[in-house]
């Protein structure tokens, strides 16, 4: 038993050190940004605040023999909004991925963790571990991908915890570097242990919410000429949930979370010179609720329409570097959510400038 354990340790160390010798040096990036944000939402009202952000990112990619790889990426971002009082937010991410070739197939493993101690600006404090295992099979130009993915969102101060378990079947066709096509179908199940269904009087029944989500995804990407990379993704699907809600004065509304959705996302990344980078990203998402009523402002009244929500956003980033180490960064973003229910409407915009330093 002792000998076996020793052998395992030796093999592990040998493999680990071997892959270090075979791999690349780790990368470390430190960023400091300042700027401002303007917003309007039903919860926070309307306002504008100066902000500062400090970020740290570390990455380590290591190829392993026979076409495999493993990588580790960790990042942390601390934001402070200088209002009265000062509000801070933080985002931490850890991701580990590996590709292990088996014959002509590739086993893809991923694990990760998103976390926030003070809240990330949108969601309260949380820990969100994710895990995924998949098999990529087929030839060089056309490949099939079958994967399982899971995650658990834990929010100590909120009842929005949920467990997700999903299966995805996809295909990718790399017609050329100019054009790649991808399509996928994903089905998932969610279990919300702290989100209990309500009875006709608005009291908890002790029965947890469960959702199923089906989604069809298609994507295009490619290289459009001189150092310009682009991608376009679209998806459409259905969320079918047991959740209900109780509205004071209106009573119990069943199936309040059931909805159809469709979304599109486009991105372009252009570097006209090694010193300059430009990125543009935009998205649009429409949700059509099947039974959830669109309400008027308080005191709530049913408008007679089902809720419809349209979210759209755009981010533009530009950077310049004199030496591939120090980067001057300018970033602007704007997002808007339109709905036929005032409680769902909001917008925000931000502009930030700063520096990033990539350690040798």
């Amino acid at each position: 038993m002792h000998k076996t354990r020793l052998t395992v340790i030796v093999l592990f160390l040998f493999g680990f050190l071997g892959s270090i010798a075979y791999g690349y040096p780790p990368t470390l990036l430190l960023g400091l940004q300042g700027g401002g944000t303007a917003f309007e939402s039903p919860e926070d009202g309307e306002g504008a605040l100066p902000l500062a952000a400090l970020s740290l990112l570390a990455g380590w990619r290591n190829p392993i023999p026979a076409g495999g790889y493993w990588g580790l990426a960790a990042s942390a971002r601390l934001l402070s909004y200088f209002g009265s009082p000062i509000v801070s937010a933080d985002i931490e991410r850890l991701a580990l991925d590996a590709g292990l070739p088996i014959g002509r197939s590739l086993v893809e493993l991923e694990g990760g963790l998103d976390a926030s101690v003070m809240g990330d600006g949108e969601d309260p404090a949380h820990v969100h571990p994710r895990w995924q295992a998949g098999l990529r099979f087929g030839g060089e130009t056309a490949q099939g991908i079958f994967s399982y993915r899971g995650s658990y969102l834990y929010q100590p101060d909120d009842d929005g915890d949920f467990l997700y378990q999903g299966l995805r079947l996809g295909a990718e066709w790399e017609r050329s570097l100019r054009l790649g096509l991808a399509a996928g179908l994903e089905f998932g199940w969610e279990y919300w242990p702290e989100y209990w269904l309500l009875d006709g009087l608005g009291a908890f029944t002790g029965v947890a919410r469960q959702d199923v989500v089906g989604e069809l995804q298609v994507g295009l990407d490619g290289l459009a000429g001189f150092f310009l990379d682009w991608s376009l993704e679209a998806c459409a699907g259905l969320r079918w949930s047991t959740a209900n809600r109780f509205i004071t004065g209106l009573g119990l509304e069943e199936d309040s979370e059931n909805h159809l959705f469709a979304a599109i996302r486009a991105a372009a990344d252009w570097s006209p010179h090694r010193a300059v980078g430009l990125q543009l990203e935009g998205f649009l998402r429409q949700e059509w609720y099947l039974t959830r009523a669109a309400l008027t402002e308080a005191p709530f009244a049913d408008t007679g329409e089902s809720l419809r929500v349209l979210s759209l956003g755009m981010t533009v980033r530009a950077d310049w570097t004199p030496n591939d180490r120090l980067f001057l960064v300018l970033e602007g973003s704007a997002g808007r959510r339109f709905a036929n229910d005032p409680a769902e409407e909001r917008w925000n915009a931000s502009l930030q400038a700063g520096v990033e330093y990539s350690f040798p």
């Binding site: 076409g67 100019r178 570097s271 090694r274 990539s358």
Partner: protein, 232 residues
């Protein structure tokens, strides 16, 4: 008997056989190109004396061994842009000179006859000499590509892009050699641009990315695999 002669010629002097086949191809297309030239000149609506001058330029070029199809695009381009005949004559003269320079360069380059036997590669060499690159660099690229003449255009296009993007010429040459030694096809060469753009977004220095590419290219089976193994 004929098959045996060709087989023997193929074994003894494959380069000469390739060039003979190239000439045979040109002879076979000669009536067609003459018609194309006449049609292009007619389309240009030049006065008869200028038409004669232009036709003479083509004849002179042919006497020097420059096939009509290599000069014809320049004439057609000039006609489409409504360039005056005098300027067109000058452009054709310049193109003929570049083609002769390109031929001389390819003849001098070890393995260059493989490129010379392909009209598109010959024309490409002339284009590179027209100011895009110094002759010594064109010679170097031609030497690298001699084993893979079909990938001459994607390789030289990539090289020009890398240099214009700001990569050191020596690094770009190293990268090109590694690509031409790899299993990747010419149409996969732009993967280098993808890696540099994505790597730059991850704040990886281009020199580090080139180092990673040089390390992984010898074993890369596809462009996708290469990307997965280099970028985090």
């Amino acid at each position: 008997m004929i098959a045996r002669v060709f087989a023997a010629a193929g074994r003894a002097q494959p380069r000469r056989l390739r060039f003979l086949l190239f000439l045979a191809g040109l002879l076979a297309t000669a009536p067609l190109t003459a018609q194309s030239l006449e049609a292009a000149l007619a389309r240009g609506r030049f006065p008869p004396e200028q038409q004669a001058v232009l036709a003479e330029q083509f004849r002179q070029a042919e006497l020097q061994g420059i096939p009509v199809p290599l000069l014809l695009p320049r004439l057609e381009e000039g006609i489409a842009k409504k360039v005056p005949a005098a300027r067109l004559e000058e452009a054709l003269r310049r193109q003929a000179r570049l083609l002769l320079e390109a031929r001389a360069l390819l003849v001098e380059t070890p393995g260059g006859d493989a490129l010379l036997s392909d009209p598109a590669s010959w024309a490409r060499t002339a284009n590179l000499l027209s100011g895009a690159l110094p002759a010594a660099e064109v010679r170097l690229l031609a030497r690298y590509c001699a084993r893979r003449p079909a990938d001459y255009r994607p390789a030289t296009s990539l090289y020009l892009s890398l240099v214009e993007w700001g990569l050191d010429r020596g690094r770009a040459q190293e990268l090109l050699r590694a690509l031409l030694d790899s299993r990747l096809s010419g149409e996969s060469f732009p993967v280098v641009m993808e890696v540099l753009v994505e790597g730059r977004r991850q704040r990886l220095a281009p020199e580090e990315l080139v180092r990673r590419l040089l390390l992984r290219l010898p074993e890369a089976a596809s462009a996708e695999e290469l990307k997965r193994r280099i970028l985090r």
